[in-house]
Subunit: 356 residues, 4 copies
């Protein structure tokens, strides 16, 4: 009969990070049992706690699964065995023959936790709600952005076409020009509508100065696409003097890299839009490297894709008028995600004012 008990350790801020409760929940809900061998609670807020726990289960496979789960919560064996490395059988996301760690042996996870009094920015503790005062979050976000810029950090903006429709693109252009954006991620549509706006002052045919649809305005977005295609791309269209303002213009003249990832619904994509998704994913991954803050503006698809690629340590701020989008993004597990449910055009307007 095999030994169906394993002794595991964990340490850190186990209570305030919720790990202690999660460890105990995991064992019971996973059909196992626990006995606390040792628990030293930190006497003050600064002191870490330390746990030694015996975990048992009725079958070996259940115990193995439990231990796997507990590893993810930062538990580790006192004398860990070596990790197991095996070559990949065939090409996939990794190439055949590359070594891959299999199983949990020899691995240790250090879970993130939210320190209870270390929030640099009070708004980071704010719940997602449309029933909050947005100015405060904007003020704190502006402060954070200024600090990141001062210490030569990196801010990435992910933006959807609603930024243009709601009149926020002039403000986003200001942020780029004044050095607050170090990479811009989006899809075909934001670039198309930004350029439509730069060329014809409309977005989807609506004049953004008067709010009225213009004559035959529905043609403008296709005319913008054709104009850029004729010029050979966004960069040549800026360099030749065709495009003289807007988000894409500022990216080009300020050397801010941008990546436009294609999607199935794009029509007549711009030359810069990457329609090979592997290439688009690679370009996104490269663009977010080293990011300190990612600002996601009204763009569910691109924001979720970016979120999937980000390490949990990067601060993300997601702004959308639809609370479901904000919830979906904040549920993706990052410890430092803030959601703001508001009008993205007005938000950018306030942010640009605050940063000036």
């Amino acid at each position: 009969m095999p030994d169906l008990t394993r002794t595991l350790e964990a340490n850190g801020h186990l209570i305030d990070s919720g790990l202690m409760a999660a460890i105990m929940d995991t064992v019971i809900l996973g059909g196992g049992d626990f006995e606390i061998v040792e628990f030293d609670i930190g006497r003050t807020n600064e002191d870490p706690s330390r746990l030694v726990i015996n975990v048992s289960a009725p079958q070996q496979d259940r115990l193995d699964r439990l231990v796997g789960e507990l590893h993810r919560l930062g538990c580790f064996a006192a004398q860990p065995p070596d990790a197991t490395l095996k070559p990949a059988e065939r090409d996939g996301s990794v190439k055949a023959g590359e070594l891959v760690v299999c199983g949990y042996d020899g691995m240790r996870v250090v879970p993130e936790f939210k320190a209870r009094d270390r929030h640099e920015f009070s708004f980071m503790s704010a719940e997602i709600s449309s029933e909050r005062k947005v100015e405060l979050a904007v003020r704190d976000l502006a402060r954070m952005m200024r600090q990141i810029v001062e210490r030569k950090g990196k801010i990435v903006v992910v933006a959807g076409p609603v930024v243009v429709h709601t009149g926020g693109s002039d403000d986003l252009a200001v942020l780029i020009r004044t050095g607050y954006v170090h990479a811009l991620l989006g899809g075909n549509a934001i670039a198309v509508h930004d350029i439509e706006h730069a060329l014809y002052r409309t977005s989807l045919g609506v004049d953004l100065t008067t709010g009225r649809p213009v004559d035959a305005g529905h043609r403008n977005h296709m005319m913008a696409i054709n104009a850029v295609r004729t010029a050979g791309g966004i960069r040549p269209a800026v360099e030749s003097g065709l495009i003289t303002s807007g988000v894409m213009y500022e990216c080009v003249v300020n050397n801010v890299p941008f990546v436009l990832a294609g999607s199935l619904r794009d029509d007549g994509p711009l030359p810069e839009t990457i329609m090979d998704l592997y290439a688009a994913q690679a370009a996104y991954t490269k663009a977010i490297e080293g990011a300190d803050l990612v600002l996601m503006l009204a763009s569910m698809l691109h924001a979720i894709a970016t979120g999937n690629m980000l390490p949990a340590s990067v601060i993300t701020v997601c702004v959308d008028i639809n609370p479901a989008v904000v919830t979906k993004l904040n549920d993706r597990g990052s410890g430092q995600a803030l959601g703001i449910v508001t009008d993205v055009g007005l938000f950018l307007n306030l942010l640009a004012q605050e940063l000036e």
Copy 2:
């Protein structure tokens, strides 16, 4: 065998108001048939059209129903019979014995229609969408409000507690102080949270200056209620110097009438909150008398109730971050309803700036 054909007339801008299509639809979908006896279309945009139409149906009751429906669309009989008046049988919304018109005979409805080039305010043609630039609607609304004030017209504001939570109450207070609000309608909650804010700078326990929940802040709203109850009401609380700022304060010192209608979910209502709904409906009806514009701010229940009481000729502007609320309000049949899907706090901020 009865004559199952009726000859009806209609005139006005029948095509651009959609009435012509509605009349024909009504007959066919109601199981009848029509023959157009005469149709003089206006030759230019200014000329009205005139229609004479024979409507027939296979049974008398169906024909009667059809004629009833067509009356609502402005159709009328060439030689109308007298209206039928009967005394009400028992008390209800009217008192027993009062004369009530029964049936459609002798009645003529003049339907409203939207003139295609007479929009004083371009934004009134705007669809409901969160993907629009809000500044333009605010600018036009401010212009409309200024004109109404200049010609001594009447502006009514219906507001919910989200106005306070989102930091819009200082701006609404400015609008009241500067003469842009001539009656305020709401429920218990907006007054409670406005007074909580005036007394403790919090709304639902969140400090509106810092965005942080304050110690024991959840008690503040109950303390605000108790303070006002002890003072004997909002007006005495203002007059005694207890309340010195906010929406309710400005109403009191500027003699702007306010009506707070109770709802089932209110706790500890303020003395001014009317918990008898007949009395509340009567007070609302009186407050909106003669209104030129009703501005509905993040308050579904009170806005729908107000909408039910308004003649269709009053312009209504509904602001809410939830598009479903805006759709619900705009569907209530008024010809002059505008919906703006945005953050109500930022909206009021912009509106107050624009009106200064």
Copy 3:
């Protein structure tokens, strides 16, 4: 100099209920400091934990506030002082002269907690989401309802008019007839549309058998109101044979008490609709007395009002197609709330099938 430290105790399942983390958070975020004097963790899942903690703060008022907050989390002083009782100064929710407990001294709160392996009903752990299989929640809910009925418990249903519009009223009528509903709470609208359906087979003028609007159907709801008013009320209208089916009919013939609370937007209320909100609140309070389960069906206003009146120990199940409503209701602090985001008509259909 006053002693700015207090020694408090707490015991129970402090970790898995999240209380331990909440206690520590409260002290730090409230600007205080703590020292853990003693912490005995339960060795196994069954054992409770015990905490003795010193809490200090820089000022007396801050310390008092902290202790107040900690009381709510179940902390108590080792030698508690007597409670302070004062007579109420004037009439409000309580009458002048009635004794009211003031402050926290001498009080002890026993917080609820969710046991990690004691869920009778697996679905109670389900998150709120429209991306879940509803049949499972229905199956478990039906099982719970059967058990409550078997042990002579009490089930209260709160329902809105959407129950009728979506075709769920026949199923709700079955639940009433077969003994699964012991009180029905709602507003004027559910009764009006249920009776419109009983009399004319329409709801808001739409034939629920064909899905088509009927001729002049918009008049039906007013005709239903008038018919009931003429009869003298819902009960006489059932007893006289006017109403022979539907939700209200089943309530009357099965002696299931119902309460219809008025709201500001009601027109022509039915005689049973209570337009005095104090009386309506009292009737609701009486109807929910002793409830084991409250099922809230597509009725935000009445559900929130009911939720405010319920002790936290009552299980509530809220069904609505709008996730925001479900979130709002579940946030109200009850430990036993389940939200189901789905189509309420289809939900009732499944539930009635499952209970047959």
Copy 4:
């Protein structure tokens, strides 16, 4: 001075299709003027109308734009000039050198219109609402699907992963097996979760039989991807006996073509997922060729992409629990679009029952 008036004609059901009002609106809002030279209204419901109209504008370019707009509404010149054909300058969606029609001359648009009494299916007139009885729409849709199958027509289903999460995949599998689906369009996620369900009975780690998360269930979707990759694809995984049930299984064994289009957020895509978007668009276009009905189930991205590719004559039925998605899809201009706001799992359950 140029002649700034053009004489145009139009005919058909100009009033009930709304074209007459649209033509007049277009001229006035576009800054022009009109004079009605001739208007013969159909005397009965069957007769078409005929319009001759003079359109004038103050400048030539404005007049040209107006005429362009009116072309789209079915207006045409009495003696039309020849169409202008020019070769494309460079490769884009068309190849360089291919002839493209430029401008409106020589073109005539025949606008669709909704006949007022020709609706085969009553539900097609239903507004989008969550406050409707879904069974009726399902019954009519089932009838339509049966008729299409009888006359050897083509039904295309576009589906998202929520179909699996909500327990609808067994029902969709039945529809495929019984011949009601002739092509399936989706993304990587629906296939991954369907196969996760086929292999492990879970969807995103939740057991669809019990509704409980299973141990380590979050790994199941990655294990499903790896199993299919190892097998070499979905088809070989079915043929080798690895996958024995589900949506993808039924597609393979019943020779129903499926297309999985990639998106930026996909991880570890299945071998069949097309990550080159040009290829994915081409495959979608081919799959919908000749479709009579497209059923869009809880998949905004793929549904919008499909909608963009469809001629307006194809009937589309969009089912989603989020009304905003349904509105967005129905606004895309098709004359025959129906939106149903409901729970997609319950919807498929009802539809499969109705079709059996």
